[in-house]
């Protein structure tokens, strides 16, 4: 308190530096985004029309940008547009990625947390090391590994598992391998942080009371690590929905996700109002799971990154 009272002019300065910066480069761009999502498409020179028609003095709010996301044409069927398909596909891939990361990452984090304390830092460092090298390069490498004539298919054929190369690249397989690969550390770190704190005496108590190792794990360890599971799930799910690079490199035309659709509307169709409306709906998709997350964890603290 004493410090705050003594530094009133200084306090104002310290607050205003980051505040003004954020208003200029976060809030203002977002408001422009919102504004353009409600205006009419323009021409090649100015990509959108002003919201205020100066000749009639009327305000033109163009809800059509949003309607056209949900409805194909005038009186078309609801929810049967390419945009909705891309949204649903993005959510589906994000959900599958989060589940796969959990299935692989939970036992992985568990075994790291149960290993000798002296080797734990080295194991964690081994998790982080690929993470520090370029994300783009690691995704690109999967392109070579999963290709029709790639290393994995060569191995499969040499082992006699298949006679002709399996098509893995540009399918759901390559999409999910790539996304699970990239986001696995986001699941492992919060899970590990949670599991390492688990008191081993609780498990011993369960064994003493006659529980089998599996039953003790399922009834003691899993419920106690719920917070880590939820945090890891959110850290994987949220960035996965907006993923842009992985579908571009490992996905085919069938695997297009909403981030790419926004890009194409912006730069290929040059339809800025449509692109911005799609982006606004995309933010909505992220905010809803976040709100549920905060509701359940019950703390208003900032998300841990």
């Amino acid at each position: 308190m004493a410090i705050q009272n003594m530094t009133m002019p200084g306090k104002r300065f310290v607050i205003s530096v980051p505040f003004v910066w954020l208003i200029l480069f976060f809030l203002l761009p977002f408001l422009i985004l919102l504004y353009i999502s409600f205006v009419d498409m323009g021409n090649d020179i100015s990509p959108f029309k002003p919201i205020w028609d100066s000749s009639t003095g009327l305000l033109h709010l163009k809800y059509e940008n949003y309607w056209s996301i949900f409805r194909a044409g005038e009186g078309g069927a609801l929810f049967q547009t390419l945009y909705i398909e891309a949204y649903v596909r993005s959510l589906w891939y994000a959900l599958c990625t989060a589940v796969l990361c959990l299935v692989i990452g939970y036992p992985f984090s568990y075994f790291i947390a149960r290993s000798a304390p002296s080797v734990r830092p080295a194991l964690l460092m081994m998790v982080m090391l690929p993470f520090w090298t370029s994300f783009l390069l690691r995704v690109y490498a999967w392109k070579g590994i999963l290709a029709d004539q790639g290393v994995l298919n060569q191995v499969f054929m040499a082992l006699g598992l298949t006679n002709e190369p399996l098509q893995m690249l540009y399918t759901d397989v390559s999409m999910l391998v790539g996304m699970t690969y990239v986001y696995l550390p986001f699941m492992v770190l919060p899970l590990y942080a949670n599991l390492v704190k688990l008191d081993p005496r609780l498990l011993e108590a369960a064994y003493d009371l006659g529980a089998s190792p599996f039953k003790a794990f399922w009834l003691v360890t899993v419920p106690l690590s719920k917070a880590g599971i939820i945090a890891g799930f959110m850290l994987v799910f949220i960035p996965s929905v907006g993923e842009f690079v992985i579908p571009s490199l490992l996905g085919g035309p069938e695997n297009i996700m909403i981030g790419r659709v926004v890009w194409d509307e912006m730069f290929t169709s040059n339809n800025w109002p449509r692109a911005t409306a799609l982006a606004v709906v995309m933010i909505g998709l992220i905010v809803v799971p976040l709100a549920i997350y905060y509701h359940y964890t019950g703390d208003a603290a900032e998300p841990k990154a």
Binding site: I32, M125, T133, I286
Partner: protein
Amino acid sequence: MRPNPKPEADTMKNFLNRHIGKLWLGLTFLFLYLPLFFMIVFSFNSTRQDAVFTGFSLRWYEALTRDTKIVDGFWLSLQVATAAGVASAVLATFAAFVLVRYRRFPGRTLFSGMVNAPLVMPEVVIGLSLLLLMVGVQNAFGWPQRGMLTIVLGHTLLGMAYGMVVIQSRLLEMDRAIEEAAMDLGAKPFQVFFLITMPNILQAIFAAYLLAFTLSFDDVVIAEFLSGPGVNTLPQVIFGYARRGINPTIYAAATLLIVSVTLVVIGYSVWVARQTRRREREIAAATRAEQAALQAQ
């Protein structure tokens, strides 16, 4: 912790029970490292294909040094990441200080929301909205051209959010009493900050810088939205190549990156371990000296 299995139990099941942990760790690490091994091996291949190793050669490393796009992109990325890292660290320090020290001021909820939002915002949305701002500003004032400056701005927005989390947690655990002691001794608020607070959180500020640098050096999405014609960061160049097909030059670049990151990480952990050991030795020496002094009395 696990109860000993009965000796007569089926040996296969027994083996699995005892080694499932190592097996799972090994397989997952194999998954994590497979792309890295793959790139290292095929960066030395003598032909363009990346399914069969046809012989050892350094031709792709030679091609890398002659590839002006990659070399220029590397230098641009280095500059962008350095600038974005410094700007992020400074702004993140301000933001963390505000959030930790000023519990009440008008607009605090808005402020904390804005600082954290880039953590969950899709990069596509950040890139798109900043692009719209830049286009608007450029139409109004004729400046700035899209290029290095605009990429730095975009990366700073992201780096500031991540850096803030790091510095905030350090500030929260810092002992306020030493600041109050300095105030009582007549230090002015800015002196308190630069002489007391900043040295205490310097490590976190440096960590924030490194994090922002790495994010910037690795980002392709925001750069794709905000760069202008002829301005391409290293990830943008790689992204362009990657969409076209196999190019072992990229594997050579990746190998150099993997080797340098590994060396930095190993060097850093050796340094930390040595520091810890030295501090332990010093504490032990000080304790012995203290005991000796006590006995002498």
